[in-house]
């Protein structure tokens, strides 16, 4: 049961980075055995606060108490000793190791080569460097933990062979294995499918039932409403308040987080359709290993509409995007940009012909993290006359005024304005830089991949609005997203992709989320095959 004891008290925590106060006198009190949500936009200071708790950063000032005792958490090992475990957003797993090997990594149960085992008690367990790792007992422990918390993880499976959802459970098992009684989940649902999210919520409730204290870092309000007891809100590095989740609606929480009322439904006017700007016919694309990832894919996007491609991650979306943007060459088929065949055109020619692309992996593709916002904003048109100085030099003052305007226009929050390094921005602001750059080039066709992945409500609302604005300006927009909500919300037409093939295209509103979900999973396609066989 939730008691009135506090498992964690973080009092007056302040942490500054150059140009930014990440945490400004923040207080967080988590009761023993509650599920406590930590809510805030990207860059609000949630991750910094948790890094302070986990010992990755040291606070400039403030006190941390664990179960009422003031403690100094100098590094993550101390946090582990104190029973704090963290399930990171980006898993820290070795892919070719088994589940058990990953869990015991760094604390391997050892047996001396020369030691005897008497009644399961090891004699001289840590004798010198001539000890060998013995996994038998660890496997048993992992199995029993997995059973106890209903995780159904196979201790002997290799990480590379199990799903993302399972990998996350391995991370949970890691914390359980080190006897953590406080478990921090950092944006745990960002990488999961809808079904996996439901399962995770059940697991979190189970953990609570077994007496664990949970901190859930998230900006997904639905999840908070579903499982959390209380919720603390941070905004721009400041502590806003702590509320009982039951007493608040999703809208209330969103307002607390963003500082103003937020709309979830995007208001859209009727699509004002023009000609087909992007047309894809019988496209086949292989991945780098030669496996066919996109098969006979056909669709088109008209100007003034948003076509959404709904599908589960790994069904050819990435390869499709790479072929459209020019990063790979398709095996066969046609890509027509405003009626012109662009299969063999270079990336730069496509950009000049009006193809914009907001990539799915903003760190890997969209941005140069070691460069300033000003430099990132001209990534695609730096070579043009607009930014030319004398003798092939760049005109830095034009670059700066360009990015100053975009920062203003797109509400990009940065420590040092145009001079801020892109890598130091929060995820939401990084995405805004990319969106600003792509939109500022006024592309006729805009490819948008996972535009709001990992972003907070405020940023999501903003970016979706901008996408709809571009549609209203008569751009043809192709949206690829794994979040069905986003597709249902934004798109005028929806195509579902499964195993690299478009399995159906519908007008928005003609089809339910459930039906699309089934098609995404390939269930419907399979059914058709079965029908064919019967016939």
């Amino acid at each position: 049961m939730v008691t009135d004891d506090y498992a964690i008290e973080m009092l007056g925590i302040t942490k500054t980075f150059p140009g930014i106060i990440a945490n400004d006198n923040i207080t967080l009190r988590v009761k023993t055995n509650e599920i406590h949500a930590l809510l805030g936009e990207n860059g609000a200071g949630k991750s910094t606060l948790m890094s302070v708790l986990f010992g990755a950063y040291s606070a400039d000032s403030g006190i941390i108490k664990i179960h009422g005792q003031a403690v100094q958490i100098k590094d993550p090992n101390v946090a582990t000793e104190l029973g704090i475990g963290m399930v990171h957003q980006h898993f820290k797993l070795v892919h070719n190791y088994t589940v058990t090997e990953n869990i015991v990594l760094g604390k391997e149960p050892r047996r001396s080569l020369f030691a005897r085992t008497v009644n399961d008690q090891k004699i001289n367990p840590k004798k010198g460097n001539f000890s060998i790792v013995s996994l038998g007992s660890a496997e048993k422990k992992v199995k029993s933990l997995s059973d106890r918390y209903g995780l159904s993880v196979d201790p002997k499976a290799k990480i590379e062979d199990i799903t993302v959802g399972m990998q996350q459970r391995v991370e949970i098992l890691k914390t359980l294995y080190s006897d953590s009684d406080i478990i921090i989940f950092d944006e745990p649902t960002a990488v999961l499918t809808p079904q996996e999210i439901d399962e995770l919520m059940q697991i979190i409730l189970r953990l609570k039932k077994e007496g664990k204290t949970i901190i859930l870092i998230t900006h997904k309000l639905k999840e908070i409403k579903k499982v959390a007891d209380r919720c603390s809100v941070l905004r721009r590095g400041k502590y806003i308040g702590t509320v009982n989740v039951q007493d608040e609606s999703e809208e209330d929480l969103a307002t607390m987080m963003v500082g103003r009322p937020v709309s979830f439904e995007i208001e859209k006017q009727k699509a004002n359709l023009g000609r087909k700007m992007l047309e894809v016919n019988d496209l086949c694309v292989n991945d780098s290993l030669g496996a066919e990832k996109v098969k006979n894919c056909s669709f088109y996007v008209q100007s003034g509409e948003i076509l959404g491609i709904a599908g589960i991650d790994g069904n050819g979306q990435s390869e499709l995007l790479q072929a459209l943007s020019g990063l790979t060459t398709p095996e066969s088929g046609e890509i027509l940009l405003d009626g012109k065949l662009i299969n063999k055109m270079s990336i730069r020619e496509r950009i000049e012909d009006g193809l914009g692309y907001i990539p799915e992996d903003r760190q890997k593709y969209g941005l140069v993290s070691g460069m300033t916002i000003a430099e990132n904003c001209v990534l695609k048109d730096f070579y043009g006359n607009k930014y030319s100085g004398k003798l092939g030099t760049l005109n830095f003052s034009h670059m700066k005024s360009n990015s100053d305007a975009l920062i203003e226009q797109f509400d990009i929050r940065s420590g040092q304005g145009s001079e801020t390094l892109a890598g130091s921005l929060s995820g939401g602001n990084q995405q805004k830089v990319i969106v600003a750059r792509e939109i500022s080039l006024s592309p006729a066709v805009l490819l948008v991949a996972q535009p709001t992945r990992g972003l907070d409500v405020g940023a999501i609302e903003y970016i979706r609005k901008r996408i709809v604005e571009e549609r209203d300006k008569g751009r043809a927009i192709l949206l690829i997203s794994f979040e069905l909500d986003e597709i249902m919300n934004l798109c005028d037409r929806i195509a579902t992709i499964s195993k690299g093939t478009i399995v159906g295209t519908f007008k928005a509103g003609e089809v339910s989320a459930n039906e699309i979900g089934l098609m995404m999973a390939g269930v419907k396609a399979r059914k058709e095959e079965a029908d064919e066989k019967k016939a």
């Binding site: 005792q69 590094d75 104190l82 604390k107 391997e108 890997k364 070691g370």
Partner: protein
């Protein structure tokens, strides 16, 4: 967690968040102090007075005007070559073939020095040699970049192997077609018209490299090419996404880098050696990597670092003759000094965390 399974290492590394610039300089100066102290060890072991040794190094490099000139002569190719490889390293294209590119430039320059010296006036000859050396060095740099762009070959191995090929070619020229007196294995000295003019007592190569410093600084920091190089160095994927032709930029940059190395080859044969032999690059292509790293690819810092290295080189030569220490000992001293200075960058980026004492862990977990 049960204590028997915990195994905290005695010391481990962690990336630093950020650092006070004053502290950064304290570490750099500290590393030089440690370097100087450690450098005394080999002196002690060989029974020499280390203070006297250092004094000889300094006076041997800077004690007389003629020594200073010799030191600067050593610094010129180091500086020029560091400038040449800077854009490659910025692009994360590991060009360790500067040695070969210098040699290629030297060969091209020597061809005209040996064959055209009586056909054109001196300054025309030097101009032709300069251009020929630039193109030859550039092509020698372009080859590995072409293969990298087309078939993604490993540029580190490729550029390294290219060194041995071109040095082999010089050996063949020395003993074959360009050999002076039969059996001498030596290429004849250049005619006076193929020698660089002397300005303030030193061949005018120093003016060329100082101009290159300014040009390279502008090229790397203010031009569109420099921007492209920086983007590729940070994220090749992003560069491709942004429509840059990465392969072409690599080839262009390597042509430039090799071309500058070629110029250095030209300077060395026309200014310092006045002939060509297979050791023309003399390890400059490798030592300049140290210069480039130590100066963190900053063109102006390279001036200081290359002079510093030249002082060490010249000074340790004097050390050999004055204290009769073997050449290997002074090489060891230089090695120790460089090692300390290079490793200080590591301590600026990373910190060491020592295992806390048992009692501290217990206190914390109460």
């Amino acid at each position: 967690m049960s204590s028997e399974t915990v195994n905290i290492p005695f010391v481990r590394l962690a990336k630093r968040e950020s650092m006070d610039p004053r502290k950064v300089w304290a570490i750099r100066i500290g590393s030089i102090v440690i370097a100087i102290l450690l450098g005394m060890l080999p002196m002690f072991i060989t029974g020499n007075n280390p203070f006297k040794a250092y004094q000889i190094i300094i006076s041997g490099a800077l004690g007389k005007p003629i020594y200073i000139k010799q030191t600067i002569k050593i610094a010129i190719p180091l500086l020029g070559c560091a400038l040449a490889i800077a854009p490659c390293f910025k692009m994360r294209f590991w060009n360790i073939g500067a040695e070969g590119q210098i040699t290629a430039g030297a060969i091209a320059a020597s061809y005209f020095a040996l064959n055209w010296y009586d056909k054109v006036p001196s300054f025309v000859l030097l101009a032709i040699m300069f251009i020929a050396a630039t193109i030859a060095g550039g092509i020698w740099g372009l080859i590995p970049a072409f293969f990298k762009a087309k078939w993604n070959t490993n540029e580190t191995l490729f550029t390294l192997m290219m060194n041995y090929i071109i040095i082999g070619i010089v050996s063949w020229l020395q003993g074959g077609p360009w050999e002076g007196r039969k059996g001498s294995q030596i290429i004849p000295m250049f005619n006076d018209s193929a020698r660089l003019p002397v300005v303030f007592g030193i061949h005018c190569g120093w003016i060329i490299v100082l101009v290159l410093v300014i040009l390279m600084h502008i090229y790397m920091n203010y031009t569109k090419h420099g921007y492209e190089i920086a983007v590729i160095g940070d994220s090749e994927n992003t560069a491709r996404y942004a429509g840059m032709n990465v392969g072409r930029i690599m080839m262009r940059t390597m042509f430039l880098s090799g071309g500058i190395c070629g110029i250095i080859g030209f300077i060395v044969v026309t200014g310092a050696n006045h002939t060509l032999y297979n050791g023309v690059a003399n390890g400059v292509g490798f030592t300049s990597i140290t210069v480039a790293w130590l100066s963190q690819l900053n063109a102006f810092a390279m001036i200081l670092i290359s002079i510093m290295l030249a002082i060490l080189t010249k000074g340790s030569n004097t050390l050999q003759t004055k204290l009769k220490v073997p050449a290997s000992i002074s090489d060891i001293v230089i090695g120790i000094l460089l090692f300390c200075m290079l490793s200080c960058e590591f301590f600026i980026n990373y910190k060491l965390i020592f295992r806390p004492r048992k009692t501290e862990i217990k206190e914390a977990s109460v």
